[in-house]
Subunit: 361 residues, 2 copies
Amino acid sequence: MKTLEVKLDSRSYPIYIGQGLLQNAELLSKHITGSSAVVVSNETVAPIYHDSIRHSLGKFRQSQVILKDGEQYKTPASLDSIYTHLLESRFDRGTTLLSLGGGVIGDITGYAAASYQRGIPFIQIPTTLLSQVDSSVGGKTGVNHPLGKNMIGAFYQPKCVIIDIDTLNTLPDRELSAGISEVIKYGIIRDPAFFGWLEDNMDKLLSRDAETLSYAILRSCENKADVVARDELEVTGQRALLNLGHTFGHAIETGLGYGKWLHGEAVSCGMVMAANLSHKLGWLTSNDVKRIRKLLTRAHLPVDPPREINERRFMELMSVDKKVLDGQLRLILLSGIGKALMTSDFDLQALRDVLAMRNAA
Amino acid sequence: MKTLEVKLDSRSYPIYIGQGLLQNAELLSKHITGSSAVVVSNETVAPIYHDSIRHSLGKFRQSQVILKDGEQYKTPASLDSIYTHLLESRFDRGTTLLSLGGGVIGDITGYAAASYQRGIPFIQIPTTLLSQVDSSVGGKTGVNHPLGKNMIGAFYQPKCVIIDIDTLNTLPDRELSAGISEVIKYGIIRDPAFFGWLEDNMDKLLSRDAETLSYAILRSCENKADVVARDELEVTGQRALLNLGHTFGHAIETGLGYGKWLHGEAVSCGMVMAANLSHKLGWLTSNDVKRIRKLLTRAHLPVDPPREINERRFMELMSVDKKVLDGQLRLILLSGIGKALMTSDFDLQALRDVLAMRNAA
């Protein structure tokens, strides 16, 4: 088992990466301070791990909330079903919530923990590659609003993150690829050596070689933890760089309806759009655009926007994104592989051209 | 104008107390960092101050959300109406929310600010005595859940608190008294000299003498700010002492249905119940119980529980209160005027006797 630390003063916490961790009762118990624990999971994940988790939490008063599976259930209604269960079953402020599932479950559970009785402890147990390398680390929690993704939420840190690589054995191929999208992102925005390593090891990663997966997750979490430690509340702009491809991606997810494309797929396409725009502005070489496009394609990820969303609709959808500050659209763009920057200083026509591009390769 | 500071490191903020502050454009503008401001208020308060606030915010892009008046509207639905307005009108993360109204408006607005796009700045402008001396200071925000009061929320500090004493001119007598209930509370839990001052000055306070009101508010805010600075997140137990009478009071509010009794009225009755229990346990003299009961009665506040809630129902309602930790009921009790303590070490039969008492004077 590997351990790394997210350094946030009094809110610091460890990330554990290894195999068989869900069966490790000692590890789970160590981070539960009260006498009760409630697992929040979804209909797909819960049945697979139900017995091992229940056994590992044997000494606690325990219960579970099972939500439906999918981004379309990342809603205030799901949140309320957690509050209602906790209140009806008299779970008090000393209760620890455990989120067992992908990013949707982690985000909802984290926000339920942040807001139930003004905050109770929680533990992240991400079971998809995407959530292991991204959303489970760093304390962003929340739910969607009908008018925009992640519009309701809080910065709220877990007590620990437990990444059991065994959970990836049952992950569908499409979701594995969606996770690899965010892994590649770290290479593109701040870690060119890691990008090179991914070019060399993509085939082993796709075949789920345990060593390769383990290293990819560790390196991703190290990158994420480092950024979060420097800019927990997304104030200085460093954390915002993690949103490469996300403004475009969110527009795709909202435009198609939540759940049609996976988050990682939308981000993959968004990163290529950001790369295309950076190239149009003369900041990024065509060779770098090609390397990005090629690596994502090898990971079976989409690199062109869906035909259903035209340029006008893209502009409309992007203007409610959180990256809009005081009415000005800011984007994460690239000046090289490993070099991202946030800027509102770009030619609007170049953006429109990129939004209108299809199959540019 | 008097200024005092709530000391919370990077989250420190000033409280301003004075007359004519709503017309003070410079004061309001000073604490708005972005270019837009949205006022959240209710149907009763908004029409009175609409023009002065709009004028004072003249240089900002501004808008307002008007909620219905009353504790029964402190709901997730009201919260959603704020989110929806902000999203529909494209108010971004740089927007400052201003809460203009009593505790209900302050709590909802504060929580909307805490959770909209994971947190935007907000300013408290409390217009009732109750909210001026209590809820606007200290960062407790939230809404009610059908199964319990204040069950959903966050600790989230405002950028400043602006207390314009002129707003008390239009406050109904019953609400003035409800505010005095919390003023008296500071005397009972930690400030015996202030309790004595209130015994001497209750008549002037009830007649709304500006000097007297101003001093009572200042002294209350000083007490509150001091407690919050020592225990922002209610961890060490000091902040919990501010909940004297609240466990009983919340049970009354929930049992009768939100809004039937004012919060301050329920707390008044709850404080007498806590005093009665403390006396039964031999910790508080009958003379101190009488002084507490008498001062609250002089302020036209209820001191006996409503007949609709019997002892059995009280126990039921109290067991979901946040003061229940790991299944054990904790109460704030008294060992003298100015000396409060939190304990779960009391005789349950004594509690049952107090819950069954009516017109004990």
